[in-house]
C-alpha cells in the first residue's frame, strides 16, 4: 500500500500535529484507507474535539436516567417498565447544499439513532433557522426543508408533532436543520452499540453501499466559503421506504434474543460504526469488504469505509443465529451479509479479496482522538434596556397587530400541515401548542415533547441565554401538564477556533448546566454542530433544547386555547408592578427597531417554584387553559390563546405602560380558571404572585373600554402571514 503524505492528510482536514500523532500511533506512515479512517474518526463531527472538554461538565444523571450521552440516544425511565429514548441531531450543512435531501436524510439519521436502541419511534420534532424572509434564497430553503422533513417522516409513518422555526439574517448563509426523535421501548429490551464475544459474526443489513457523501462528515465540519455552492459534493439521497423496512426488520429481529450489539451507519458510515462498537466492547474487528453489498462496481476499500449511504446498520449477532436473522431481512426485501467477525486483537483489520487495506489499533484511535481546550473570551455584557428609553408610545393593540404580522410570531400552520402529525393514532396535542403530546400506546400515559431556543438571548448573554433555553423547554412541558424529565441538546455555533465564538459556546454550556441542575432536568443525549459560518460571519449561538416530560394521566393534559366564555384570565408569576424586560425582546426589535440589550435574567428557583405550582393546580383540575409567556410577552400569549379557541378576551384597564404587555420577563404563565377563590388562596399559600387580567368572552381582544381588535382580524394577520409569504414569488 502506498504511504500517504502530509499534503494528503491536510486534504483530509488533519493538522500537522495530528498527522505526526497518527504516524506515531501506527508506528509507520499510514496508507490512504487508514488515513481516511483516521480523518473520519478525528474530525470535529465524530470526535467532538473542540467541545468534549465542556460537554463533560453537563449534568447527565438523575434517578430516572437509564442511559446518558455516549450511545445512539439517551434513555429515561417512564414507569411501568417503559422507557423513552430520544436524541436531537443537526443536518445543517447538507440542508444548505440540497435542502430537500439534506433535511430528509437528517430525519432518517435521527430515526435510525432511536430504533437502533430497540425503540419504536413515536414522535418527531424539529428546530429550524432560516435567513431573513426578504433574502432571495429563504423561500427556497423553507420549501425544500419542510417538504424534505415531511417527505421522510410521513413516509416512515412517524408523526411530526411539533417544532420551532425562526427567521434571522444571521442564518442567510447557513441555515439550521435540527431534527429530534422520541421512541419508546421496554426498559429490559434496550440495545446498545457494544460488540462482544470473540468470533461472533459482524453483520451488515439494509440498503446497499454506494459512493454517497464520501467525506460528508468532513464537510459537516468545514466552514463554508462561497464556492462551496459550486463544489457541491455528492449528497446522500434519502429513501424513507427502505428505512421503514429496515426499521420493521430490526424491530422484528430484536424481539428474538439473537442481537448482541447494533449501531447505525451514520456519519463516516462503516468506519465510525465498527470503531465505536469495537471500542465499547474492547474487542477487535476483522472486516471482509468483498462480502459487502455495493451499489456500484469497483468500489475501493477507502470508498466503502467512508461511504455515507443511508439506511444501513451494523450488528453483532450471537453465533449460529445468522440464518434466523437473514430470513427476517429477506422477508422485508433487504440486503443482509456477514462481513466480518470479532477478534481478540483489539485491532480493526480491513481486508478485501485477501489483501489487507487497514490494520489499526482501535483504542489508539479512539482514546487518542484530539481534544482541544480552545481559548475563549467571555462575551461582553450588554446593558439593560429600560422602558424610559422607548420612543414609541402606540397603544398595545396596535403593537399586537404589528407583531403578529411578522415572520417570527405568525402561525406555523403552513409548515406543520405538511407533516403527518397524527399517524400512529396516539397524538393528543397537535403542533401549534406549547408542546406536542403523544400517548404511550395502549396506556393512559403520555409524553410531552418540545424544542426551544432563543438565539437573540444567547447572543446578548450566552450564560443567561443558556439558562433561558432550558427554562423555556421546562416551562413548555409544564404548560401542557407534564412533569419535565430530561433534555437532549443540539449546540449550533460558529467557528470554535475564534475566541469569541468559543466564549459563546462556553457561556451557553455553563448556563445550560446551571439550569439543568436547578430544574432536575439532565442532558441525556445531544449533538454539536460547529463551523456554522459563511465568509467569516457566524450564526447566532443556537443551543437548541429538546425536552421530554411525562404525564401519568393523559386525560389531564392542558392546552392553550380558552375553553369557555366567562372564565377568568390570570397572569401567574407576575404583577402590575413588574418592569417589562425589553432587552433582546421582540417588542424592541419589531416596534422600536432595535436589536440589543441584556436578555431577561432567569431566576431558576422561581422558575421551578412557579412551574411546580402550575402542575399542582392542574392535578386539582383548577385550570382550564394554560400557556407559557415567552417571546412577545403577555399580550401575544393571550392572543394565541384566543385565536386557538375562537373565544375573545376582555382585559382590565391596568395601571401599566404599553410595553408592559410585551416584556419578556421569565417564569410566567397565563392561565384560565372558573374558581378564582381556590386559585387565589393556593397562590397566596404557595407565595406565588398572580394578577387577574380579565375574562374570556365575545369575539374580540379588548383592553379596558376603548382598545380592541376582532378575533377575525388577528386570526387573518397571524394565520395567513406564512401563506402570503410563501405564495409570493422569490
Amino acid at each position: 500500500m502506498t504511504e500517504v503524505t502530509r499534503e494528503n492528510a491536510k486534504e483530509h482536514g488533519l493538522t500537522d500535529e495530528e498527522f505526526d500523532l497518527m504516524c506515531q500511533l501506527v508506528g509507520r506512515v499510514p496508507n490512504l484507507t487508514e488515513l481516511g479512517i483516521f480523518s473520519a474518526m478525528w474530525n470535529e463531527h465524530c470526535s467532538y474535539k473542540s467541545s468534549k472538554r465542556w460537554l463533560k461538565t453537563l449534568p447527565t444523571t438523575a434517578p430516572w436516567v437509564i442511559c446518558g450521552p455516549g450511545e445512539n440516544a439517551g434513555v429515561i425511565d417512564i414507569e411501568d417498565g417503559d422507557a423513552a429514548i430520544f436524541k436531537i441531531e443537526s443536518h445543517n450543512h447538507p440542508s444548505y447544499i440540497e435542502p430537500y435531501q439534506g433535511a430528509a436524510t437528517g430525519v432518517g439519521g435521527i430515526l435510525r439513532d432511536v430504533f437502533t436502541m430497540g425503540a419504536r419511534p413515536v414522535a418527531l420534532m424539529n428546530a429550524l433557522r432560516f435567513g431573513a424572509p426578504e433574502h432571495p434564497k429563504t423561500r427556497h430553503f423553507v420549501n425544500g426543508v419542510v417538504s424534505g422533513i415531511g417527505g421522510y417522516g410521513n413516509c416512515m409513518g412517524i408523526p411530526t408533532v411539533g417544532g420551532e422555526t425562526e427567521f434571522h439574517e444571521a442564518y442567510n448563509g447557513n441555515i439550521l436543520v435540527n431534527a429530534m426523535c422520541v421512541g419508546t421501548a421496554k426498559t429490559d429490551k434496550i440495545f446498545y452499540a457494544t460488540a462482544s464475544g470473540i468470533g461472533n459474526p459482524v453483520v451488515y443489513v439494509g440498503a446497499k453501499t454506494g459512493r454517497d457523501g464520501i467525506h460528508g462528515s468532513t464537510m459537516a465540519s468545514a466552514e463554508f466559503t462561497e464556492d462551496a455552492e459550486s463544489k457541491r459534493p455528492t449528497v446522500q439521497v434519502g429513501d424513507p421506504f427502505t428505512e421503514k423496512l429496515v426499521m420493521e426488520a430490526c424491530l422484528e429481529l430484536m424481539k428474538t434474543d439473537s442481537v448482541i450489539g447494533i449501531q447505525d451507519m451514520g456519519a463516516a458510515g462503516l468506519t465510525c460504526s465498527s470503531m465505536e462498537m469495537a471500542s465499547k466492547g474492547q474487542v477487535g474487528v476483522e472486516l471482509h469488504l468483498e462480502n459487502l453489498p455495493t451499489r456500484e462496481p469497483n468500489m475501493t476499500p477507502y470508498e466503502i469505509m467512508l461511504s455515507e449511504s443511508q439506511e444501513r446498520m451494523l450488528m453483532v449477532l450471537k453465533p449460529g443465529r445468522e440464518e434466523e436473522a437473514h430470513q427476517i431481512f429477506k422477508k422485508w426485501g433487504l440486503d443482509f451479509a456477514v462481513i466480518g467477525h470479532l477478534t481478540d486483537t483489539g485491532r480493526l483489520v480491513v481486508k478485501m479479496d485477501g489483501e489487507i487495506y487497514a490494520d489499526l489499533k482501535v483504542q489508539d484511535i479512539v482514546d487518542n482522538s484530539p481534544e482541544y481546550d480552545r481559548p475563549w473570551k467571555e462575551s461582553p455584557k450588554k446593558t439593560e434596556i429600560t422602558p424610559d428609553t422607548l420612543k414609541n408610545t402606540q397603544d398595545p393593540i396596535q403593537s399586537l397587530k404589528l407583531m403578529l404580522d411578522t415572520a417570527n410570531l405568525s402561525s406555523r400552520r403552513w409548515i406543520w400541515e405538511q407533516y403527518d402529525h397524527m399517524v400512529m393514532g396516539d397524538t393528543i396535542q397537535y403542533p401549534g401548542g406549547d408542546a406536542g403530546v403523544v400517548r404511550v400506546h395502549d396506556t393512559k400515559k403520555a409524553l410531552a415533547i418540545t424544542t426551544d431556543c432563543s438565539p437573540r438571548y444567547c447572543l446578548s448573554d450566552p450564560f443567561e441565554g443558556g439558562k433561558q433555553v432550558v427554562a423555556e423547554a421546562w416551562r413548555n412541558l409544564v404548560a401542557v401538564g407534564a412533569k419535565p424529565l430530561a433534555i437532549t441538546n443540539n449546540l449550533n455555533f460558529g467557528n470554535p477556533e475564534r475566541e469569541e465564538i468559543m466564549g459563546q459556546f462556553v457561556g451557553c454550556i455553563k448556563g445550560i448546566t446551571e439550569a439543568c441542575k436547578t430544574l432536575d432536568f439532565p442532558v441525556i443525549s445531544g449533538n454539536v454542530s460547529l463551523y456554522n459560518e459563511t465568509e467569516g460571519k457566524a450564526i447566532m449561538p443556537t443551543p437548541v433544547i429538546g425536552g421530554v416530560g411525562l404525564m401519568r394521566d393523559s386525560s389531564k393534559m392542558m392546552t392553550m386555547g380558552f375553553k369557555d366564555k366567562n372564565e377568568f384570565i390570570y397572569l401567574v408569576g407576575g404583577s402590575e408592578k413588574d418592569v417589562p424586560w425589553l432587552g433582546s425582546s421582540l417588542y424592541l426589535k419589531d416596534i422600536e427597531g432595535i436589536e440589543d440589550g441584556a436578555p431577561p435574567p432567569v431566576d431558576l428557583s422561581l422558575e421551578r417554584k412557579t412551574g411546580e405550582f402550575i402542575l399542582s393546580l392542574n392535578e386539582k383540575s383548577l385550570l382550564s387553559a394554560c400557556h407559557d409567556v415567552s417571546a412577545g410577552g403577555i399580550l401575544i400569549a393571550i392572543a394565541e390563546m384566543a385565536i386557538k379557541s375562537k373565544i375573545g378576551a376582555q382585559l382590565y384597564n391596568l395601571d401599566v405602560i404599553p410595553a408592559w404587555w410585551f416584556g419578556e420577563n421569565q417564569a410566567r404563565y397565563i392561565i384560565t380558571t372558573n374558581d378564582c377563590a381556590s386559585f387565589e388562596k393556593l397562590a397566596t399559600s404557595n407565595n406565588i404572585t398572580t394578577l387577574k387580567l380579565g375574562e374570556t368572552c365575545g369575539q374580540k381582544i379588548q383592553i379596558g373600554d376603548n382598545l380592541s381588535v376582532t378575533l377575525d382580524e388577528v386570526d387573518q394577520i397571524h394565520g395567513k402571514w406564512f401563506d402570503r409569504y410563501m405564495s409570493q414569488a422569490a
Binding site: 417538504s147 415531511g150 417527505g151 410521513n154 413516509c155 416512515m156 409513518g157 429513501d239 424513507p240 421506504f241 427502505t242 421503514k244 423496512l245 422477508k331 422485508w332 426485501g333 406543520w416 400541515e417 405538511q418 407533516y419 403527518d420 402529525h421 397524527m422 399517524v423 400512529m424 393514532g425 396516539d426 397524538t427 393528543i428 397537535y430 400517548r439 393523559s554 386525560s555
Partner: protein, 226 residues
C-alpha cells in the same frame, strides 16, 4: 366478525386500522402480509393507509400487483366488505375494483388537517349509523387525494348513489373552498356498485375518540356491526 388488515411494505396505518377493529368491533383482525398468496375467507378486509412501496411510480401501483391482492379482489367480488383508506383507496383504484384515480393535491403539498365531510349515502353497511347528510369531522393526511374520474363515470357514480362522502365545511356546504385537494365533485369517499367496497381519503380510524380530536369516525366501524 372475521377481519383482516393487509400489510404492505410501507404501510403505516396498519396498526391504526388494527386498533379501530379491536376497539370498536371487539375482535382482533388478522394482519395479513402482502406477499402471502392465500387468505382465509373474511367478512371485512381493510386496505390501510401509508406509503406502500414508498409511493414510488404511482401511489398504490405496486401494491395493487402484490400476490395477496389477487385474493382480496376475489373476496371482494364474492361480497366481502372492503375498506380502503388513503393509500388503500389509491391501491383499490389501481386494482380496478373502483373507478378513477387519485392525483396530486391541487395545492401541490401534503396536507394533514381535520376536515369535514358530508354523508351522501347513509344506506350502506359502512354508513348506516350516520344520519343522511350528517356532517362529520375526520382528519386527512395525504399528498395525492385529488380524485379524478371521467365525466360519464362521475355521472354513473352519482346515479348509482356511489358517492359516500363529500368534502364540506362545518355547516355542510360543499364547494371549491371546502375542497382540500381538488377532488372531482368534492368526492372524499366512493363505493363500488354493489356497495360492499368503500374507499376514502380521510382517516376514520384516526377519529375514534375526542381525546384525538374527534370521534366521528367510529360510525364507519359501528355501521359494520349491523
Amino acid at each position: 366478525m372475521k377481519s383482516a388488515v393487509i400489510v404492505f411494505p410501507g404501510s403505516n396505518c396498519d396498526r391504526d386500522a388494527y386498533v379501530a377493529i379491536r376497539d370498536v368491533l371487539g375482535s382482533e383482525p388478522e394482519m395479513a402480509w402482502h406477499g402471502d398468496s392465500s387468505l382465509e375467507k373474511k367478512d371485512l378486509i381493510i386496505v390501510p393507509g401509508g406509503f406502500s412501496y414508498g409511493d414510488y411510480l404511482r401511489c398504490g401501483s405496486m401494491a395493487a400487483n402484490s400476490p395477496l391482492m389477487k385474493e382480496v379482489i376475489k373476496q371482494a367480488n364474492e361480497g366481502t366488505k372492503i375498506i380502503g383508506i388513503c393509500n388503500g383507496f389509491q391501491i383499490l383504484t389501481e386494482t380496478g375494483l373502483l373507478p378513477g384515480t387519485l392525483m396530486r393535491n391541487k395545492g401541490l403539498k401534503f396536507i394533514c388537517r381535520q376536515i369535514h365531510m358530508r354523508v351522501e349515502n347513509n344506506t350502506t353497511s359502512f354508513t348506516r349509523k350516520y344520519a343522511d347528510k350528517q356532517v362529520i369531522q375526520v382528519p386527512v393526511a395525504h399528498n395525492e387525494g385529488n380524485y379524478v374520474v371521467e365525466d360519464d363515470v362521475l355521472k354513473s357514480l352519482q346515479d348509482n348513489d356511489q358517492v359516500a362522502f363529500r368534502y364540506c365545511d362545518e355547516s355542510g356546504t360543499v364547494n371549491d373552498d371546502t375542497n382540500p385537494n381538488g377532488a372531482t365533485d368534492n368526492i372524499a369517499g366512493v363505493l363500488n356498485k354493489n356497495k360492499n367496497i368503500l374507499a376514502l381519503m380521510p382517516h376514520p380510524e384516526r377519529a375514534l375518540s375526542k381525546l384525538f380530536g374527534s370521534d366521528d369516525g367510529r360510525g364507519v366501524f359501528e355501521s359494520l356491526m349491523g
